[in-house]
Every structure is written in structure tokens, then in C-alpha cells.
């Protein structure tokens, strides 16, 4: 290993055991932080419960009103926030490693823009009908978002396929597709009735306020199935950092591996976005924070997922506990995550994908 590598970022000189220790320590710290933030999220809100109240409810000693608040309102929101954040963080780590580019969030696969297009279409076109039956909106929106996400990513992948997937071509095609769909979405928002434009803008920022147990289960299912699959690709992702030629030379079946990684990222984001709307920033910021905490040269998957969960559930808890009114979590995640990443940036000597 040559000594000319940017030592501040890669830490090549550190013994492997110590490096693994750092990753483990960062992961465990994040885990503890997520649990604490989740507990805070259950106590915080417009009708405040003490820690004792919550503990009483959890062991079956609470009043009926308290049980309703904890089990039907706070719990799905906190659990949903953790799962959505974890899914986004993990998906971001996968795409940033896959493309070897810190700016490559799952957005470049067309997932987010597809979901946004589907949802805004449902709001604007179906606005009149849904206004009569608001129940349809809660069911129809996530379905349309998921449909938009999956169709768009399939189209992007199909267009990028030319006897194989080249990550650079995939990125460029993702940029074009995302732009086209974003343009159409903006056009719909600009031409819609102002109330529907407001509803669409609200959805586009991302929020946990509409989340219920029904919207939590798909995200949980996606994570349970896809997280192990993503983990099984970790070794290949590491080799992928070395470039295509080296990877093939080392015997990685590149095309199947790429399809798997992309599929994981797409499905995770589709599930998350359908539940909460596009909380776009999380997929970018969580892996970047995680790799600086663990001081690795690529985003550690588990820590990225946990930082994502922490940013979403912590941000949502803070918004409900400290701020008046309902501030969408998409705004808070940026307010919580961006300054922290900036602080980490000013302290480190550089960074890599």
C-alpha cells in the first residue's frame, strides 16, 4: 500500500482490527441513539406523556386514552420513521458505493422522481374525486407513488441496458429521466388549483404525519427481505470500488451483482417513499455521516441505515416536541442532518465516496 494515499480519509495505516472496531463502535453508538430518539419520539407531542406514563402503557397499566395515543398514534409514527430512515440510509449507501460517487443518491435511478410524479398525478388529477372520499387518498397515494417509482426505475434500467449495465451510462440516463419527470411534476403543480398545489407541495416535502400501522408493514417487509440481500453484496461492493476491469478479473459476476444492488436500492426507496413521501436528503446525508463516523473509505451499510433512522425519527421527535404546529419531517431532516455533516466536513481533512 503506497503512502501517498490521502491519509486523513483512508486511514490505511490503521490495523484492520482497529478499523473494524471503529465501525462496530460507530454502529453500536448509532443503535443506542436510535433507541433513545425513538423513546423520546413516543413521549413528545402535543399531548405530552411522561416516561413513566409510557412505561405504564407498555406493561399494560395505562389508561385507555394513553394506550390509544401510544399504540395507535405515536408507535406507528416512531416505528415508521425508524424504518423509513433505515431504508433510505441503506439505499443511499448502496447507490453511493455502486456508482463510486457521493452525489449518487437513489434519485439518480429515477425512483424518487417516479414516485413524486405518480403521487402528484393522483393529487392533481384525482383531487376532485378524492375530495369526496378522503379515504381513497390515503390508500391511493402510496399505491400511485410505489407504482411510479417501480415503473420509472424499470424504464431507466431498461434504457441503460446495452448488452450490459455501465454505471456511468445508467447515471446519465437516470439524470435525463429524472429531469423529464420533475419537469412534468412541476408543471402539474404550477397549473393546479392552489389547494391541490399546496397538498402536492406538502407531499413532496415528505411527512410522517399520515403514517399508520398499515403503511409501516410494507417498509418492514422490504427491509426484512432486502437488508440481508444487501449485506450479502457487501464484499462485492468493496471490490467494485476498484473499478470494473479489476472486479471482473477478480471473478465478480458484474451484471447480476449490479442488478441485485440496484433492485435492493429501488425497492427500499419505493417502500419508504410510499409511506412518507420523498424525504430526499436522508439517502444522501446518512451514508456520508456514517462513513465519517466510522472513518471508512466507503459508507458502512449498517451504520448508514442507523444514521438514516436516527435523522428521521430524531428530527420528527424534535419537530413535535419543540416546535409549534406540524413541521414536515422532510424539512427537519435537512435542518438536523445538514449542519452535522457540515460540522464533520470542517473537521475532517477530506473525504471520499
Amino acid at each position: 500500500m503506497t503512502a501517498t494515499v490521502d491519509r486523513g480519509t483512508l486511514d490505511r495505516g490503521t490495523p484492520p482490527a482497529l478499523r473494524r472496531g471503529r465501525v462496530l463502535a460507530a454502529t453500536l453508538t448509532c443503535l443506542v441513539a436510535v433507541v433513545l430518539a425513538g423513546l423520546y419520539g413516543i413521549t413528545a407531542g402535543s399531548s405530552s406523556l411522561t416516561v413513566a406514563d409510557v412505561a405504564a402503557v407498555l406493561v399494560g397499566q395505562g389508561t385507555g386514552g394513553q394506550e390509544l395515543i401510544v399504540y395507535q398514534l405515536r408507535m406507528p409514527r416512531v416505528v415508521g420513521g425508524i424504518l423509513v430512515g433505515a431504508a433510505l440510509g441503506l439505499a443511499g449507501a448502496l447507490t453511493q458505493t455502486f456508482a463510486r460517487n457521493p452525489l449518487a443518491t437513489p434519485d439518480i435511478l429515477g425512483v424518487t422522481s417516479g414516485a413524486s410524479f405518480g403521487a402528484v398525478l393522483a393529487i392533481v388529477v384525482g383531487g376532485g374525486t378524492y375530495a369526496v372520499a378522503p379515504g381513497l387518498l390515503t390508500l391511493g397515494l402510496p399505491a400511485m407513488a410505489a407504482l411510479g417509482a417501480l415503473v420509472t426505475s424499470a424504464v431507466v434500467y431498461g434504457l441503460a441496458w446495452r448488452g450490459g449495465i455501465d454505471s456511468f451510462r445508467l447515471i446519465l440516463i437516470g439524470i435525463g429521466t429524472t429531469a423529464a419527470l420533475t419537469g412534468l411534476t412541476q408543471y402539474m403543480v404550477a397549473r393546479a388549483q392552489i389547494t391541490e398545489a399546496g397538498a402536492a407541495t406538502q407531499w413532496l416535502v415528505g411527512s410522517l404525519s399520515g403514517i399508520s400501522w398499515a403503511s409501516v408493514w410494507p417498509v418492514l417487509a422490504a427491509l426484512v427481505v432486502l437488508a440481508p440481500l444487501a449485506w450479502s453484496q457487501v464484499r462485492d461492493l468493496g471490490i467494485g470500488q476498484l473499478g470494473d476491469e479489476v472486479s471482473i478479473g477478480l471473478g465478480v459476476s458484474l451484471q447480476r451483482h449490479r442488478l441485485l444492488v440496484i433492485l435492493c436500492a429501488v425497492l427500499l426507496v419505493a417502500a419508504a417513499v410510499s409511506a412518507s413521501g420523498p424525504i430526499e436528503f436522508v439517502a444522501f446525508v446518512a451514508p456520508q455521516i456514517a462513513l465519517r463516523l466510522a472513518r471508512t473509505d466507503r459508507p458502512p451499510l449498517a451504520a448508514s441505515a442507523l444514521v438514516g433512522a436516527l435523522v428521521v425519527v430524531g428530527g420528527d421527535g424534535l419537530a413535535r416536541g419543540l416546535l409549534p404546529g406540524e413541521v414536515p419531517v422532510g424539512i427537519i431532516t435537512a435542518v438536523v442532518g445538514a449542519p452535522y455533516l457540515i460540522w464533520l466536513l470542517t473537521r475532517s481533512r477530506g473525504g471520499s465516496a
Binding site: 451510462r169 435525463g176 429521466t177 419537469g183 412541476q186 456520508q288 455533516l341 470542517t346 473537521r347 481533512r349
Partner: protein
Amino acid sequence: MLTTTTTGRPRRALAVAALLVAVAAACLVSLLLGSNRLGLGTVLTALVDRSQDVGDVVWGSRVPRTVLGLLVGACMGVAGAVMQGQTRNPLADPGIFGVTAGAGLAVVIGLYVFDASSVLATLVLALVGAAVASVVVFSVAALGRGLSSPVPLAIAGTAVSALLIAATSYLVLADETTLAGYRIWVVGSLSGRSLTGITPALVFAVLGLLCAVANMRSLDTLALGTELATGLGESLLRARLVGLAAITLLTASAVALTGPIGFVGLTAPHLARALVGGGHRWLLPASGLVGAVVLLVCDVVGRLIAGTAEVEVGVVLTVLGGVAFVLIVRRGRMARL
């Protein structure tokens, strides 16, 4: 990947000449076509003699739009090429240093606090917001000694942009009048602008172009990697400062004039790189020309596509441009950075 070495001087000169012809043709089409179709002779006489019947249409609408499209398209194209050269990142658009987001927040604050919606007020607000945002991003990266690597600059820019966009969304969601103004501004449009208001932006744009020209040699050296660049006697701080000044001035004036039209800056350099290769002496002018052609053509399409109504150039650009870009990428061999 090898286009830099395989593209010879004659071919590059030919490509730039073809682009110049395309720009001229696009200008002409932009003057002639619209909801009110004019003949070549009519336009030419009206250009010379403003008192003609169609003088109002030509001087009041067609000429400003064409000049704006030319200027903004070229600014965004050049800014995008400088940005991708500075960050060595194909995903970098001119807005990535927070310039666009800063301008957006300033415009929204103007709408929210002062109800300022005039073209001149928007222009000044956008310029101030863009300048403040880019200085913050540069300081963050410089504090972390991140100037030697382009990655912290890009990450700091994305993080600061996200903060600014969050603040923008908060204000927009809090106030319906602000949303009403903002949702129109954010799409980006060339219509309803007169040439009288553009002087300050024009000054900024020219300054930005000069900075970009001054930065060309540094961009080529930076492409070799920062260590080699420093070894060749390149001052990193100066190279970054001049590049940042170019990007901020160009993007700020473009965003102030038409709203955020980011897609040109992101894609024009990729198309130009496929035509003339990666050397910045050719790439910067080619990117500017590609940007101008694309923006003008999309504006004309927006005028015609919906009959007498009009579709904003920002929408046409992203939708049509997005689809076209996908097709080009699929067919052609794109040159890597």
C-alpha cells in the same frame, strides 16, 4: 473515454463552427415563430424600424426572449462545464454550490416579507442569495482543508443547498401567497422580461465569463489530479476561487433572469464533451453554445406546443431535454470526465 486524444483539432473546429451555425439558426427561428407567426421580411424591417405594426411584438417580446435565451443558455452551459471541471464529478450541476438554492430562498423571503415580485427586485434578491450561499459553501470546504479534493466542496454544497431548500419549503408551506409566486418562479421562464432590467445581470454574466476564461488552463491542470496540479505550480486556492467566482456570477445572473434552469448546466457539458473532447479551451465555448441552442429551441417549442397558451421554457427543457438526453446517451459514446 479516449475522445480527448482521438478528437483532432480540425474536427473540434468543425464542431464549434457547426454549433455557431446552429445558434444563428436558433436565434432566427426564435425571432420568427410564436403564437403570432411572422415572415422573415417583416421581422427584418421591424428590427430596423421600430414604428412598424409588428414592432411591438418583435422588440417587446421576440428580441428580449432571444437575447435572454442566448445569454442564459450560454451562462448555464459554461457554468456547468466549469463546475464539472472543478468538482471532477459528472453529476455536478451549476446549482450544486448552493447558488440556485440561495437565490430561491432569497426570492421567497422577498415574496414572504416584502411581497416583492417585480423583476428587478427578484433579480437583486436572487443575486444576493446566490452570492451568500456560495461564499458559505466555499468557507465550509476551505475550513476542512478540503480544497485539495473536490469531494468536500460538492458535499458541502449539497448539504447547504438542502438547508436552504428546507427553509424555502417551510416558508412556501406557511403562506399560500408565497407559494403562488414561488411555484411560477421555480419553473423558470423567458417570457414577460424586458431588456431594460437585465443590465446588472448582464454585467455579472460578462464578469463570470471572463473568470471562466481565466480558469480554463487551471481546469485542464486540475484534471490531472490536485497533487500533479500543485506540482506543476498551480495555486489551488487561486484556481478554486476563480472557478467559484465564474460559477457564482454566471449561475446567479442566469437564475436571477429566468428562475432556476438547472438542466442545461448539467447536460450541456456532457454533450459538448462528446463533440470536442475534455480539453477546457474547447469544452467551455462548446458548452456555452450547446446551452444557448438547447434553451432557444426549447423556448420556441414551448411557445408553439400549446396553441395560444404557453408552456414555460423550464418545463419544456426538462421534459423534452430529458428525453432527448436519454436518447443521445443511449446511442452515442459519452466521453467520461
